[in-house]
C-alpha cells in the first residue's frame, strides 16, 4: 500500500517541475517506508502460525496471557548479554540454557512439542534488556524468557514481564528484597548464600570483617544485610570499600586493607575487578593464610580468568560447584564438556540457568499448557533433581530451596567443598526470618 502511494507521488512530481532535491526527501520517505515494511514483515513472520489474527489482536492476546502456540514448537526466549562488558559472564549461562533445551528436545520436548529458542542480545545495556524482553513477549510470543545476570538487567525486565504477564527465569544469586509474581529466581537469595557464609566465617575464621564490593546495587544491599548481621553477632567491621565497576587498580584499597588487618575480607566485587583485586592482593604479599577472602561472585569460570595460583586457598559461597557430588551433576558436567569442550567449566549461575529450563519444562508438563498463570500455579512445590541437589520451587516467592556450600579454591581451579547445609534452605528474599534484618525488611514491607 505504502510503497504504491510513494510511487504514485513520484510520478506526480515528475509531471511538475521536478527538482532533484525532491528525491532527497523521497529517500527519507523510502527509508521510513522500508523500515515499516520490514517491521511488518518481521511481525508477520513472527505471527506466521496465527494467520487469521491481526497484529493488534496478537498483542492483546498476549497481554491477556494466552501465549499458546498452535504450531508444533514452543518458542522460548533466551536473553543474555552477548556483547559488551557483561558478555564475559552471561554467554556461558546462555550456553547452559541452550544445552538444557537441546536435552529436553532430544527427549521428546515439552507437551510433545520441540522447544525453539529465540536468542536476543541484551548488549550489557539495561534499556536494551527491557526492549528485547518486550520484543520476545509481544512479537515472538515466547512462552517464557530465560535471561539476565545483573540485578539491573532483572530490574529492567521486571516491569515488562509483569506488564505483558510473561515469565522470566533469572539464574543468578542476587541481593533479595524482591519477589515478582512473573519471575522465577533460580539463583540464591541472600539467606541461601550470604547469611550462611557470614555465620560460617564467624564460627571458623574470625570476627573482624572488611567489606569490599563493586559500587552497585548487589554489593551495597548485601553489605547492608551483612553489617546488620555482624552487629547482631557482635563482630567487628573494620572497613567498607566500594570501587567503580570495571575498576582495575586495587593498590590503594589493598593498602587500606593491610593497615586494618582484618580476619576476613567479604568480597562482593563483580567480574573483571576480581581479577585485578586477587592478582594485586597476591603481589602485595597477602595470601589466604594472612587474610582470607570469601567471594560470592567468583565461581569456577571467574577462577579461570583470575588464575588458580592467584586465588588458591581463598573461599567462596555458592549452592553448586563443578565438584559437587551428585549423580545429576556427573551427567551435567559430562554433557556440558561434550558440548562446549574439555576446557569448559561449570559454575553456579551456569547450573542455575540449566535447571531453570528443566523446572519450567516440568511445570508446563504439569499444567498441560504454556499459559503463564497456569504454569505459575503448577510450578508451586515442583521439585527437580538438579546438579546441586534437589531443588524445590517455593510457592510463596517463586525462589527455590537450595543447599548452601562453602568451598575453597584449589590449585587446579576447582573448588572443594568445606561445608554444606544439612538440607536445602528455604528461600527468604526479604530476610523476614532474621531478627537483625528487621529494619531492612520492614522498610520494604508494603
Amino acid at each position: 500500500m505504502l510503497v504504491y502511494s510513494y510511487k504514485q507521488n513520484n510520478i506526480e512530481m515528475g509531471g511538475k517541475e521536478m527538482r532533484m532535491q525532491n528525491l532527497f526527501y523521497l529517500l527519507i520517505v523510502g527509508l521510513l517506508t522500508s523500515f515499516m515494511v520490514a517491521c511488518s514483515a518481521v511481525d508477520n513472520a513472527a505471527n506466521a502460525d496465527q494467520p487469521e489474527e491481526t497484529e493488534e489482536n496478537a498483542v492483546t492476546d498476549n497481554i491477556e496471557g494466552s501465549s499458546e502456540d498452535e504450531g508444533d514448537t514452543i518458542k522460548v526466549g533466551i536473553l543474555h548479554s552477548l556483547s559488551g562488558t557483561m558478555a564475559i559472564s552471561e554467554t556461558s549461562v546462555q550456553q547452559a540454557e541452550l544445552l538444557a533445551i537441546k536435552e529436553i528436545n532430544e527427549n521428546g520436548g515439552v507437551l510433545g512439542k520441540q522447544l525453539e529458542p529465540v536468542i536476543e542480545d541484551g548488549a550489557s545495556d539495561w534499556p536494551t534488556f527491557a526492549e528485547k524482553a518486550k520484543k520476545l513477549l509481544q512479537q515472538d510470543n515466547v512462552a517464557t524468557i530465560f535471561g539476565g545476570w545483573t540485578s539491573a538487567s532483572r530490574k529492567a525486565m521486571l516491569p515488562v514481564v509483569e506488564e505483558n504477564n510473561g515469565l522470566l527465569f533469572y539464574p543468578v544469586q542476587y541481593e533479595g528484597m524482591e519477589a515478582s509474581p512473573n519471575i522465577f529466581y533460580t539463583g540464591a537469595a541472600p539467606n541461601q548464600q550470604i547469611v550462611p557464609a557470614v555465620n560460617w566465617l564467624l564460627e571458623n575464621r574470625g570476627d573482624s570483617f572488611f567489606l569490599l564490593g563493586s559500587d552497585y546495587v548487589f554489593p551495597r544491599t548485601a553489605n547492608a544485610a551483612i553489617k546488620a548481621q555482624l552487629n547482631a553477632e557482635g563482630a567487628e567491621i573494620v572497613g567498607e570499600e566500594y570501587t567503580p565497576l570495571g575498576h582495575t587498580d586495587y593498590n590503594t584499597v589493598i593498602a587500606k586493607i593491610k593497615s586494618e588487618n582484618p580476619d576476613v575480607i567479604f568480597n562482593t566485587l563483580n567480574g573483571d575487578s576480581n581479577v585485578a583485586f586477587f592478582k594485586q592482593l597476591k603481589d602485595a604479599g597477602v595470601s589466604s593464610e594472612n587474610i582470607i577472602v570469601l567471594s560470592v561472585s567468583v565461581a569456577e569460570e571467574e577462577i579461570k580468568g583470575i588464575g588458580a595460583d592467584v586465588i588458591e586457598g581463598h573461599l567462596t559461597s555458592w549452592n553448586y560447584y563443578q565438584t559437587t557430588d551428585t549423580p545429576a551433576n556427573e551427567e551435567f558436567v559430562a554433557n556440558y564438556k561434550a558440548e562446549y569442550g574439555e576446557d569448559a567449566v561449570t559454575a553456579d549461575p551456569i547450573e542455575a540457568g540449566y535447571f531453570g529450563v528443566y523446572l519450567w519444562a516440568k511445570a508446563v508438563e504439569k499444567a498441560g499448557t504454556t499459559e503463564v498463570d497456569k504454569v505459575k500455579e503448577a510450578a508451586k512445590g515442583i521439585t527437580f533433581e538438579a546438579p546441586n541437589g534437589t531443588v524445590i520451587i517455593d510457592g510463596d516467592n517463586q525462589h527455590v530451596y537450595k543447599t548452601v556450600r562453602i568451598g575453597e579454591v584449589q590449585s587446579d581451579g576447582m573448588i572443594s567443598e568445606l561445608w554444606h547445609s544439612d538440607e536445602a534452605i528455604k528461600p527468604d528474599p526479604y530476610l523476614k526470618e532474621y531478627e537483625w534484618a528487621k529494619d531492612l525488611s520492614e522498610s520494604l514491607a508494603e
Binding site: 526527501y25 536468542i119 542480545d121 516491569p159
Partner: protein, 363 residues
C-alpha cells in the same frame, strides 16, 4: 536571495508533509512494539537535531561526546516523577534498602509533574550553560573540548552510580505505572506518547530551522568557518557557542524525557561514554551538514540497523554494525544525505546554463 544548500533542500513542502504524514499513519500500520521502537528512534532523532546544531552544520568544531549527560538528566527528571507517582508518594524501594526513611531534598520538586517536566529541560540547559560558558570563554575548542566533554561524562556517570540512595545506582529508575493518571504501558498511552514525540520532533525541527534560516544561522556558519574572523567583525563567538550548546542540551533533555516515557527505564548505561559517542554517530552517518533532516535520518537509520541486525544475528550483529560504520565514515564523508547531495550536485551541474560558472568550494 538566500541560496545555500539547506534552504533549497527544505523548499519542497509537499515532500516534507509526506514524511510527517507517514509518521502520523504509522500507528495504524505497526504493531505496538514496533511503534514503540519507532517512537524511541524519533526521540533519539530529536536529540540528533540538537547535536547537529552544535556540530554537524553550525558552530562547527564543537563536537560534544557528552550529550548522554543531558539526555540522561532530562530522562532522570521525568523518571523521578514517574517513580514517585508509582510509589504513591512513598520513598522508592532502592532508597529504603539504602537506609533512607525520608524523601531526599532533591527529589521533592519531582513530585509535581509540570515542575518535573520543566526541570527536565532546565537542568540540562543550566549544566550546559556553565560548562559552555567556562570552556568557550577560555577558548577551549576542537579536540580538547571533545575530550573534556568525555571527562565530564565519567564524572557524572560515576556520581550517578555512586549515589545509589539517590539515583538507584546502576539499575537506574524503572517500574513506572502512571503519568497524569494514565497507565503508562497501555497501548493507547504509548500511541499517545508516539504522537507527542512526532509533534515535538516537528516542533524542534521547525524551531531549529527557523533559528538557523535567518541571519543568525549565517553567523553560526561564519563561526564554524572562521571563528577568529567573526571576532573581528564584532561578534563574540563564545556567546553564540554557549547559546547553541545550551540549546542543544535542552533539546537533549527533552529527548531524554520522551525516551523514558516510551522505554520505561533510564539507567547510567544510557548516559555513559558509549551512548554519547553513538549519538554523534547518528549525526555523522545521517550527514548533510546543517540540513537538520540528516540527523533525523541518521538516528532512525542507525537505530533501525542496530535493532534489525541484533534481532536477526544476535551473536554477530556487532560485526555488521561495525562494518557499516566504517564504510559510511570512510566512503561517505557527508553521511547518507551527503550521498544524495553529491548526486544532486552532479545532476544540477549538468543542467546549469547560467553565465557564471559556480565552482563548489572544498569544504
Amino acid at each position: 536571495m538566500q541560496n545555500t544548500i539547506y534552504q533549497k533542500l527544505l523548499s519542497n513542502k509537499v515532500i516534507f508533509s509526506l514524511i510527517f504524514l507517514i509518521l502520523l499513519v504509522a500507528p495504524m500500520l505497526l504493531s505496538d512494539f514496533r511503534l514503540n521502537l519507532l517512537g524511541k528512534f524519533l526521540a533519539f532523532a530529536i536529540l540528533a537535531i540538537g547535536l547537529d546544531l552544535l556540530w554537524g552544520g553550525y558552530t562547527g568544531g564543537v563536537l560534544s561526546l557528552g550529550h548522554g549527560i543531558y539526555f540522561g538528566l532530562g530522562a532522570y527528571c521525568m523518571a523521578m516523577y514517574l517513580k514517585l507517582e508509582a510509589t504513591g508518594g512513598a520513598i522508592p524501594d532502592f532508597m529504603a534498602w539504602s537506609g533512607m526513611s525520608e524523601l531526599p531534598l532533591i527529589w521533592i520538586p519531582f513530585q509535581y509533574p509540570i515542575l518535573a517536566i520543566l526541570l527536565g529541560v532546565i537542568i540540562p540547559a543550566v549544566v550546559a550553560f556553565f560548562l559552555g560558558y567556562l570552556t568557550f570563554r577560555n577558548r577551549i575548542s576542537g579536540v580538547y573540548f571533545t575530550i573534556l566533554s568525555q571527562a565530564l561524562v565519567i564524572v557524572v556517570v560515576t556520581l550517578f552510580i555512586g549515589s545509589q540512595n539517590l539515583t538507584g545506582g546502576t539499575s537506574g529508575l524503572t517500574n513506572f505505572e502512571t503519568l497524569f493518571g494514565f497507565h503508562i504501558n497501555a497501548s493507547s498511552t504509548q500511541t499517545a506518547f508516539y504522537w507527542i514525540t512526532v509533534f515535538i520532533l516537528g516542533a524542534v525541527f521547525f524551531f531549529s530551522r527557523m533559528l538557523v534560516k535567518g541571519r543568525f544561522g549565517k553567523v553560526l556558519i561564519g563561526i564554524r568557518d572562521g571563528e577568529n574572523r567573526m571576532r573581528f567583525l564584532g561578534y563574540n563567538p563564545s556567546a553564540y557557542k554557549t547559546f547553541i550548546y545550551t540549546l542543544s542540551a535542552a533539546i537533549a533533555g527533552l529527548a531524554g524525557m520522551l525516551f523514558v516515557l516510551q522505554v520505561g527505564i533510564i539507567s547510567p548505561t544510557m548516559i555513559g561514554i558509549i551512548p554519547s559517542i553513538e549519538m554523534v554517530l547518528w549525526v555523522a552517518l545521517g550527514g548533510g551538514r546543517g540540513t537538520l533532516i540528516g540527523p533525523i535520518i541518521g538516528a532512525v537509520f542507525v537505530n533501525t540497523a542496530k535493532t534489525g541486525f541484533s534481532e536477526s544475528y544476535p551473536e554477530y550483529w556487532t560485526y555488521f554494525l561495525g562494518i557499516l560504520f566504517v564504510l559510511v565514515v570512510v566512503f561517505l564523508p557527508n553521511g547518507l544525505t551527503g550521498l544524495f547531495e553529491k548526486w544532486n550536485e552532479r545532476r544540477k551541474n549538468k543542467n546549469v546554463s547560467n553565465s557564471i560558472r559556480v565552482e563548489k568550494s572544498v569544504s
